[in-house]
Each structure stands twice: as C-alpha cells, then as structure tokens.
C-alpha cells in the first residue's frame, strides 16, 4: 500500500438511472461536506428516465478545489452495462468496489478490488420489493463509509436533511448503510491508500445548486411573474419557485404577491413574461437552448418596445436538441445577436451558485432600470449540480423599480411626459403601466416604428433617433452591469478570461501555472456584457489573452473581437466542448500548448 492519500481524491459511482442512486450519492457528498472537507459533486446522467448508465463523481480536495477532475481513484460499480468501462477507469493504485452479483472477469492487478454483497445486504433490509433496488444503493454508502472513514454521524445528518427529518425513512436507510459498513468492517481488508479525515474547511459554506439559488435570488428580487415551459436543465428553476415563493412571499393573510405560470410552450412563456413586464411586474422566464431559440422574435420585441424581463437560460449542449443532460457554454453568440434587425442584448454570466442567487435579484433590478430584457446565462453544471457555496447574502441595495411614473408623478408633471424621450440623457425614458388612472398615463405600445410619444411612425428620422437612443441606453448599461472579478498578481503579462462555471477549473489551473517556470498570468472572470471599463482595461493591459470557454467556436472570443477590434489580434481560444464540466488539467494544458 502506497502512502496514505487523505481528502484528496475522487470517488465515482456507476449506477443505473431511475434506481434512486441520487439519494445515496448526495448523502455521501453531504456527509463529507459536514466533515469539513471541501467537496464537489458532478452528476453525469443520461437523457431518459430509467435503465441507462449514470455516473456520479465526488471530488474531495483538502486544498479546496472544486472543479471536476478526470482521474478517478475510487470507483463503485453497480451497473453491469458499464462495468468494464468503470473498471478501466480506475487510476492505477486506486480502489474498485462492485456489486458482487455482476459477473465479469476482473483483469486488473494494479488496483484494490472489493466485491460487495449488495443484493444480500439489501434483501436483509426487509423492504418491499419495489424499494429493493433503491435500498441497494445504501449498501455502497455504508461500505464506502467504512473503507474511507466517513463519519456515521454526518451520514445520519445528511439523511435526516434529505428526508426532512422523517425518522422512519432516515432509520431504514441508515440501517442498510450501517449493515453495509458492518459487513465491510468484517469482510474487507483495506489495501488502498485513500481515506477521509475531518477538517474545518466548509463551515462558512452551504450546499446548493444554481437553479435553486436563481429561484431564491428572484424571490428576494421581488419576482412577481414567472412563465416557463419544462425543459432540462432549466425546469428546476421554476420548480424551486413553486417551493419557495409560497413560503416567503405570501402576505400575512396568505395571499400571493406573485404568479407562476406553466405556459404551453416557450414562445408563450416569454410572451407572458413580457406582457407581465410591460404591465409593471417584475417578470422572468427560465429555459434552455431550444426554448431560447423559440424566444427570438419576442426578445426583439422586448428590446425594441423596452420591456423589462429576465430570461434565465440554463445552457445545455447544443446545437439542436443535442445532449440535453450535458453542460455547455454554447448559447453566447445566439443570445448576443438574438432577434432580427439591430439589437444589443444585455447578458449576465454568473460564475458560482452564490452568484446565481445574486444575479437572481440583480437581473430583475437591471431589467427594471434599463427597461430591457436581461439574459442570464447559467449552465447545467452550475444549475443542477450541488456545489459548496458561500451562503446567500441579503441584497445590499433596495429594490430598483426603474423610471415608472404613477398618478402623483404625472400630476406633478402636469401630465406632460413622453414614453420614449431621453429626458435624462442616459437613453432611458420614463414609463407608465396599466392601472395608472391619470388621464395622460395611457400609451399604446408596439413593436413597430414609433416616435417619442409612442405613436406609430414610418418617419426615417424618428426611426434613427430612437435607435440611437437605444444604443445610448446600452452604453448606460455598461456602467450598471456587474464588473468582472480580476485576479492579477505582480508581473503578470498574459491574461486569461473565462466566465460562468469554468471558474473553478481556471482557478485551479492558475494555481498550477503559478508554480511552473514561465510567464505570469492574470485572470479575469467576465460577469456581463456589455464590457465595462474594467474589462476593456484588463484586455488592453496584457500581451496575449486566452479566452477559456465551453463551446467549439470560441463564442466569447468572437464577441470580444467584434466589440474590441483593436484588441482582437491578442485573443487566443481555449475551447472545450465535450459536454463535461471543465477540468484544471485541461485548462493548464490548453494554455501551455499554445505558450510553447
């Protein structure tokens, strides 16, 4: 047995989907987290409901790195269909645990092999046959706990959380886990070097997924209307709203201050959201690529009629239906140019679960301020996986309601106002919303050419003026959108830009690059488009800029080349698009290969 490896390896569990293994896997993840060990969990699941191979990888990192790793030191195989592949995937020197009813030849002697009598132990659990497959998963939790040293108490905490404290469920699952652990203690001899040990590196964190965070952010952002249509990986944004809005946003009398509508499709979803936004509600729709594409026409209406609305896009692998359960950052160019004619869409790029919460409310504020659709690009990895994250922070500014005139305001103005006039020099005009009873409040909105009074016109000059004002508004947005997060050490000559869920991998790669001979790197995590001054300065500052992104075509590189043409020759792409979350190793190698 080689030197002990503590809190610094990955565990992958291979099961059949629809078998309930998610509960077992998340229990492991949470137990480790409660032991104070930095963890991350990545669920690799198929696009069907039951019967296909699925994998869950837990990374433990005492240094706190939470990006995906390719290497798998401990592998648990519960699925005959993927058994050979799983066996082959174990790192030399690693450990392989498997359900002993799977009968395959095992041809590796460089790893530790542990068969588990899963069926037998599960049968002993004495549950209904319907639950037996499910409970079998608890066996490997127990065996792993025993073999790696996961504290039983934290497992119980995890179970208790999962089952919302329902004692019966907790006990029955825990019983099986215990049985698994006991069996392992008595029957398995540890020959691998991997183990876990309590640390204190997670007490300032919580565990959550980005979609829940987005929904909660919106709850605190005063969301009043959400229209959506089911789609992986975005459905859980709306489903979380269905959970949390009733808990936190009903009045004392139990009345709703919001409405959530499942629309008949995404065209209708964005239409309803834009209708509500026009009506003065803080409004949102959540979707993924195919739905986003269906929203193209309405997005242009939102831009041109200047309607506040948030479009929360949880990206999955496209083009087309693509790989619905794989992650990507491939919708950037589409969103940037969404809808026909000229338009400049505003995009937010959350890079962590905490930021999903923050942008959840901020996007609603920005929409209200800028009277414009705000597109937020999350992704499957960020949205659906459980992450350890800084706790959510109560918004540090009051709700931003934007330039809305009510009866009293109009009274003060003697009823003189113009819907599309740039009175303040920021490109943002004042608006009124239905229900305003002042006799000068009403206006007739439209997606056709209009003058400052919102009247229909085909006049060339009115058209150009209005479009020029919209451009000015986009410039105003530049100063309002989230600034980038920059990490630049002394002496850095080369820049790296990344965004969204790529952050942990880039961060880890930087730690490595710091250690090797060669140029020093500065890192900017982009958080929004249009580019703020800080973004432009960062780009101007460095000799070369690597743009790391999760798509084939270097979508952000394309956009930055277009908006900063003078800097374009400096850009280098590091593109990764196999559907899996980025690893630090890949980032490091992609950059080093081009630096040679």
């Amino acid at each position: 047995m080689s030197a002990k490896v503590v809190n610094d390896f990955s565990i992958t569990i291979a099961t059949v989907n629809g078998s309930g293994s998610q509960t077992a896997n998340v229990t492991l993840l949470r137990a480790l987290f409660k032991m104070g060990i930095p963890v991350s969990g990545k669920n690799l699941f198929p696009s069907n409901i039951q019967g296909l191979p699925t994998w869950y990888t837990i990374r433990l990192s005492k240094e706190g790195f939470i990006a995906r790793r390719d290497e798998q030191e401990v592998v648990v195989s519960m699925n005959p269909a993927s058994f050979s592949k799983d066996l082959a995937s174990v790192q030399p020197g690693g450990a392989f645990l498997y359900a002993d009813d799977i009968k395959f030849a095992i041809n590796r002697s460089d790893i530790s092999i542990y068969p588990m009598p899963v069926k037998q132990i599960a049968r002993a659990a004495n549950v209904s046959s319907a639950l037996r497959d499910y409970i079998a998963n608890m066996v490997y939790v127990g065996v792993l706990a025993q073999m790696l040293g996961i504290e039983m108490e934290t497992i119980k905490q995890a179970l208790s959380f999962h089952f919302k404290g329902k004692a019966e469920a907790v006990e029955s699952n825990f019983g099986t886990i215990k049985a698994g652990a006991d069996w392992a203690a008595q029957n398995l001899k540890k020959s691998d070097p991997f183990s876990v040990a309590r640390m204190d590196a997670t007490s300032n964190y919580v565990m959550a997924d980005g979609n829940t965070a987005a929904a909660l952010g919106a709850v605190y952002g005063g969301l009043q209307f959400e229209a959506w249509y089911p789609i992986t990986p975005a459905s859980s944004v709306a489903e979380a709203l269905n959970v949390y809005l009733p808990q936190f946003r009903k009045t004392a009398e139990g009345k709703q201050t919001y409405a959530v509508m499942q629309a008949e499709d995404e065209l209708a979803a964005i239409g309803m959201a834009i209708g509500a936004g026009w009506g003065g509600l803080r409004s949102m729709t959540s979707t993924s690529g195919p739905g986003l594409s269906l929203m193209a026409e309405y997005a242009g209406l939102g831009y041109f009629a200047e309607v506040p609305v948030v479009v929360w896009d949880v990206q999955r692998m496209g083009p087309s239906t693509g790989l619905p359960t794989r992650t990507a950052q491939g919708d950037l160019t589409e969103v940037y140019s969404l809808s026909h004619g000229d338009k400049q869409n505003i995009i937010l790029l959350p890079g962590s679960v905490q930021e999903c919460f923050e942008f959840g409310w901020k996007a609603l504020d920005l929409a209200a301020t800028l009277q414009s659709p705000i597109f937020v690009l999350s992704d499957l990895d960020l949205g659906m996986n459980q992450w350890m994250t800084k706790p959510f922070e109560y918004p540090d500014v009051p709700l931003e309601r934007g330039k809305v005139l009510w009866e009293a305001d109009l009274e003060k103005l003697s009823g003189i106002w113009s819907r599309y006039k740039d009175s303040d020099g920021d490109g943002i005009a004042y608006r009124t919303v239905p229900g305003n009873k002042h006799h000068s409040a009403a206006w007739f909105g439209r997606g056709t050419g209009h003058d400052e009074e919102a009247r229909y016109t085909e006049d060339s000059v009115s058209w150009e003026n209005n479009m020029a004002r919209l451009k000015k508004k986009y410039d105003t947005a530049r100063s309002l959108v989230p600034k980038p997060v920059i990490k630049a050490g002394r002496g850095a000559t080369i820049g790296i830009i990344a965004y969204g869920s790529s952050d942990p991998a880039v961060d880890e790669a930087l730690a490595f690059l710091k250690k090797v001979e060669g140029p020093k790197f500065a890192y900017m995590r982009l958080r929004a488009l249009p580019c703020t001054a800080e973004v432009q300065n960062f780009i101007k500052k460095y000799e070369r800029i690597y743009i790391v992104e999760g798509n084939r075509d270097g979508q952000l590189r394309q956009i930055l080349s277009a908006v900063l043409p003078d800097q374009a020759p400096k850009f280098r792409s590091a593109c990764h698009s196999d559907g899996l979350p980025l690893t630090a190793k890949w980032v490091k190698e992609a950059i080093m290969a081009q630096e040679k």
Binding site: R30, A158, V206, M207, A208, L216, Y220, G222, Q224, F225, A227, F248, R249, T251, E253, G254, K255, Q256, T257, Y258, A259, M261, A263, E264, D265, L267, A268, A269, G271, M272, I274, G275, A276, G277, W278, G279, G280, L281, R282, S283, E297, Y298, L301, P391, F392, Y394, P398, T432, P434, G435, N436, K437, H439, A441, A442, W443, F444, G445, R446, G447
Partner: protein, 346 residues
Amino acid sequence: MSAPTTIQTNKAGLTKNDYRGLPSTLCQGCGHNSIANQIITVCYDLNIVPEEIIKFSGIGCSSKSPAYFLNRSFGFNGLHGRMSSFATGAMFSDTSLRSIGISGDGDTASIGMGGFKHLVRRNAPIVYIVENNGVYGLTKGQFSATAEKGLNLKHQGINQYMPVDICLEALASNATFVARSFAGDAKQVKELLKAALSHHGVAVLDIISPCVTFNNQDNATHSYTWGKDHEAPLQDISFIPALDEIEILGEFEEGTVREVSMHDGSTILLKKLEKDYDPTNRANAFQMLESAQQKDWLVTGLLYIDESKPTLTEAYNLVETPLNRLQDSDLRPAPETMDKINAMMF
C-alpha cells in the same frame, strides 16, 4: 355641472370623444372599422372608464384597430399570432382592469392557433374578438385558415382546406362564452359586446368582418353580401346592465324570452326567433355549429355561456392590491429570513 353645456356625457361623466381613438388608417368600408365604432359606443353606453380597460392585439389590419378606439386606455399591439401570451401575462399586472383583445383570423387561427386555444382553456378574463375576414388583409390577400374550401383568390389559387371554425375551436377548448356575429349587423355586435364585457372569464366573439379590398366577392362567405343573405341569428339579444331596472322584461310575452344572469348582476335577454335555443348547453352549441356548417348558414348570436367557472386570475389567490402597485416591503422577504434560507440549503 357648473355651466350649461351641449356636449353630452354618460354616467362616467365622459363624452363620446373620450372613447375615440386615432383616425383609422384602414380601408373605407372595412368591417374592422365598424367593429371599432361599436366598441366606442358600447363603452360609452356602459359608462366604462377607459382607464379601466387594457387593449391588446397581434399584427394585421384587425390588430391595428385598437389604435382607433379608446385612446385613454393602455394598449399593446404585439407580435403576429402572439396576442394571447402577451395578454395573459399583462392581465396579472392589475386584475381590476378589463381586457379587450382584437385579433384577426390569420392572427388567431393560423399562426396564433396554439396560443388562442390555451388562453381559452385557461379561461383568461378577456373579451377576445376575432375580426374574421377569411383572408390576410395586411399582407394583401392570402388565404387565412378560416377561408372556405373552394375560395379563389388572386395569385393564390383555390383553397383546398376546410375552414377553421373559431367558435367550434373555442367550445372545444371549454370556452365559457362563445358568440358569433357579423360586422354588418351593428345592433347584434353591440349587444354581444356588452354581454362579453360583463362576462366572467374568456368571451370569444367571432365577428365576420369583410375585407372589402381582398375578399368581398358576393359568393365569398366572408363578404357583406353573403353575410346579409345567409345570416341566421339564434336570438334577438338585449343586454341589461346590472344597475338598470329590469322593467323591460315586462314587454315580452311569456316564454318568448330567455334570461341569462351574469356574474356581475347584469342580464342578457334572448328573445326567441324561429326556434328556442339554450345557450347554456354545450352539446347544443356543437350541434348548432355542425348543422350550420352543413346548411351553409351564418349562425350568429350567443352560442354558449357559462358564468360559473373561475377565471385564470382567480385561480391564483392574489393580494387585493394590484400586483404592479405592491411596495418593496411586499416584494422582498425580510432580512431575518436570509439565515433561514441558508439553513435550508444544508
């Protein structure tokens, strides 16, 4: 009033002018213009405060017409075929307002079919008017989905398909108010509009509204001539607002009138014509539409009504205050809740 004036006002203290819109840019004689005029009259007659109406439309000649009535109402002329979704969202902003939507047959029955069906299914509280001319006016005369089989149009050839029947579609989607009328029958349009404005839920009005420029040949089923020759009204309709005395009832012979009570206290009086027709029975309505199709009748009147179903917005237990007037404190949970939320996260 302080000084004598010759300008007539209604009980809301408004003149007819307060209900008008911009001058129409539609063709002279277009059915849509006469419907816009009826809306003006009806809102005036019913003493509706224009600020309490929201107007919606899609894209088309018909969809332009909300600009030509109720200048003092908010309104939105949206995307082609998408009036339903926009209106559905917008009506949540202040549920004390009433919604009027004007769409075309192309807008509703071609591109907008899905949205229309789902709006109806949800019983969204809106007066949904289809200004049905069997043709695309604004794009210059192509077949819409309500064009009759065999219709021959310039550059387009002969239509091969059975027309979409807006009323049948509304019924199939469990509409709670379904009526058909004819722009050439101003009185009926007016009474049906009044009833629709009192209805609790979605009121679908399919109004045959001839396009004089592209589809008004005498033998076309959406023409003035055909309509006049083939109209078969189900009833003679009078609408009695909630507050008016119902003395008027006395005027009718026993058994010749059917009374329908509305949710808001108004009454629809349906005077029997040739046959009695019960508009509260959905099976009847199906039957009637089926036989009208076979007999080439333009059946008009109130086909179906059900005042008892909850509307879309009622299904959401909303606060009294219009949502769009809620204060920051109503919209953002208190700071104390933040810890609770974080604790819920594990």
